[in-house]
């Protein structure tokens, strides 16, 4: 796979990180990502990322569960093997509500977690390039992808002047993932970036 060059800047304060993100973007660089030890609220907006539509996927999985439960139970109890239970109607919708509800939740939850893992390329045994060991401990690691025109020294100086405590140049390549061979994820909102 294609090897790419990245400039890495490490920050140790959220307060410093946000203005730095602004400055780096204002200077026209494309930030690949910021690796943080915890969810920094608002950072996705500051980076100009699109909203995730994971919750929409969750809704679709949920109604799939509802539909599966209703259709399966009603087919079984009215067509395949109608049971006479005390002369009550075969199509006993109120009595099915608990199972319909449970399957809705089950489908939504399992589907969402699997989608989450697929989108984030997370699975047991997946190896990724880690730009800094302390990104899961106490550093906010900003990674900027270099183009042909990028002057790494200028960029490092820019990061340092904006409060980066460490700067670095690294070469990394993307790992393999289902159906994404050499394809970039489109994570950013183009309108916001412009």
């Amino acid at each position: 796979m294609a090897q790419k060059k990245f400039v890495v800047g490490c920050f140790d304060e959220e307060k410093v990180l946000f203005p730095a993100v602004k400055q780096v973007r204002a200077a026209g660089y494309k930030i690949k990502d910021v690796y943080t030890p915890f969810a920094v609220h608002g950072l996705d907006h500051a980076l100009g990322m699109r909203e995730t539509s994971l919750h929409t996927a969750g809704f679709i999985y949920g109604i799939t569960g509802t539909a599966t439960a209703i259709s399966a139970i009603s087919w079984i109890f009215t067509k395949d093997w109608p049971l006479n239970i005390g002369g009550k109607p075969h199509f006993a919708l109120p009595a099915w509500v608990p199972i319909i509800f449970e399957l809705t939740v089950l489908f939504a939850a399992v589907g969402m977690v699997m989608t989450f893992c697929y989108l984030c390329q997370l699975a047991p045994g997946v190896k990724k390039h880690h730009f800094h060991k302390r990104a899961t401990d106490d550093l906010f690691v900003m990674v900027i992808e270099c183009t042909d025109k990028t002057n790494t020294d200028d960029l490092k100086a820019l990061l340092s002047s904006n409060g980066a405590i460490e700067t670095d140049v690294q070469v990394a390549e993307d790992g393999w993932w289902f159906g994404t061979y050499d394809k970039e994820d489109n994570l950013y909102n183009e309108k916001q970036l412009a």
Binding site: E14, V40, T52, L54, A92, E102, V105, L106, T136
Partner: protein, 481 residues
């Protein structure tokens, strides 16, 4: 919009002078050092109990349900009592992680991880009871609806017992997913600190390759929020459906509409008590008193006194309805079999009343809520009381049915019934000891999020922030342009 800081009036959620790295160090220390002698002793006891449980089950499977002292009238005895008890305990974790997340209760961060783990282990224990109560446990898969060569003979979707199968298995699956997806970032932290190759490899596999990318965090937040939204009605549905096992029957003492809310309140009550029992020990042994603070214990005790009182009102309502309905059978069950102290099982009713309704009232006092010893003692008492509650509901309603000739002799469990129960304690604590040894017992990443918003050493800075208009703060910090 998310909070930028927490009011000065609130107690800090993290005590002491901490920074992000210190948080990592503190919480991960217990899993990076050799376990203490105490851990080995505890683990040994747990495994011994587990093995005794396995032997008890071996007897039950080999010789049949006759190994238990159930009889014609009391068809559900200790076994289903223990099932409901464990399921109830399994409600606190998801309640803490889901409901409190939706209510934006910051204090959940200190306790949610351990509580969720406890939930999963408790549900695992609970599941054993109905499965083995089937007798021919090797045919347990018959409870799943699948096309088969017996007709196909389907399960009865109108039966509360089948609803239970779906509710408990869904609850277990969703809780497990919620717990593990929350663990991923913390496992990545452990992986990146690994000091041996083996640790790096194993935690690397467990962490799924988590990097901490902003996009991943954004999706992770969305996932947690939706899972919390799904788990909130789920957690309420599970014990509701367990209560339907009883409430949809026509047995006096079970056939009541009050059961769903009453069971859910009881489940939260016993679940929080179990969380208290475990965390009071964990925070002391692992030196995590800065993270699981007296404030946390205080807040959980408030939940205990609230839910305990709800349960108390439910008991009184039942007694009232037993009289008000003027139904002879109801009256007999509630006023003779239960409330009359000198009836055969009257002791269990009053034991339940004393443990669940009277004793938690001590927590109206702030001093008692913040006393670790009182809390630990009370958490045990509450769980004994909640066990009695299930025993009372099941046994006192069954032992004298409509036909006096089949009124049972006094029911007391056989050693193998008790052994099965002890075995689930063994399973629970074996799992919990392993969890505490190999996984971070506190959500590291979430503590880091609240640290600078609610940490003791950061609180004084908020005075400056309080003076600043909120709109300006948002504009400065979150907008791209």
């Amino acid at each position: 919009m998310h909070i930028k800081y927490e009011s000065q009036l609130r107690e800090p959620l993290v005590y002491g002078e901490k920074n992000f790295h210190q948080v990592t160090e503190d919480i991960l220390r217990p899993i990076e050092v050799k376990p203490s002698r105490l851990w080995y002793i505890g683990f040994f006891i747990a495994v011994t109990l587990l093995l005794f449980g396995v032997y008890s089950l071996y007897r039950e499977v080999t010789y049949g349900i006759g190994q238990w002292n159930l009889n014609k009238t009391i068809g559900w005895g200790w076994d289903i009592t223990n099932f409901v008890w464990w399921v109830g305990i399994g409600h606190a974790g998801t309640l803490i992680s889901a409901v409190l997340l939706l209510f934006r209760q910051g204090w959940r961060t200190g306790v949610n991880r351990a509580a969720e783990a406890m939930t999963i282990f408790a549900v695992m224990c609970a599941g054993q009871f109905p499965i083995f109560h089937m007798g021919r446990v090797w045919l347990a898969f018959f409870i799943m609806p699948y096309p088969n060569s017996r007709g196909p003979l389907w399960v009865n979707f109108n039966s509360p017992l089948l609803w239970d199968v779906f509710a408990i298995s869904t609850y277990f699956t969703v809780s497990l997913l919620f717990w593990y997806s929350g663990l991923l970032p913390d496992l990545a932290t452990v992986r990146d600190r690994a000091f041996t190759k083996l640790r790096k490899k194993l935690y690397g596999i467990a962490a799924f390759g988590w990097t901490g990318s902003t996009k991943h965090w954004q999706r992770h937040e969305s996932l947690s929020l939706v899972l919390a939204g799904l788990s909130t009605p789920l957690v309420l549905s599970v014990h509701t459906i367990v209560s339907f096992d009883f409430a949809t029957s026509v047995i006096p003492g079970w056939h009541t509409t009050i059961f769903p809310p009453y069971f859910v309140a009881g489940a939260i009550f016993s679940g929080f008590a179990m969380v208290q029992s475990l965390l009071i020990v964990v925070r002391k042994v692992f030196g995590l008193t800065d993270y699981i603070t007296i404030g946390h214990i205080d807040l959980m005790n408030k939940v205990i006194v609230l839910t305990g009182s709800i349960v108390g009102i439910a008991y009184l309502t039942e007694l009232f309805m037993g009289w008000y309905s003027q139904n002879k059978y109801e009256g007999y069950t509630f006023w003779y079999s239960r409330a009359y102290l000198f009836s055969p099982y009257g002791w269990s009713y009053w034991g339940m009343m004393a443990c669940n309704v009277l004793s938690p009232q001590i927590f109206w006092s702030r001093k008692m809520r913040r006393n670790v010893f009182v809390t630990f003692f009370m958490s045990i008492i509450v769980n004994i009381g909640m066990w009695f509650e299930r025993f009372v509901i099941i046994v006192t309603s069954l032992y004298r049915d409509y036909l006096p000739s089949s009124w049972s002799v006094y029911y007391s469990p056989s050693i193998w019934e008790i052994g099965f129960y002890l075995g689930t304690f063994g399973l629970f604590f074996t799992c919990f000891f392993l969890f505490a040894k190999y996984f971070p017992v506190i959500a590291v990443a979430e503590i880091k999020y609240v640290l600078k918003r609610s940490g003791e050493s950061y609180k004084p800075e908020f005075e400056k922030l309080e003076a600043q208009p909120l709109d300006k703060f948002i504009h400065d910090n979150t907008h791209a342009h």
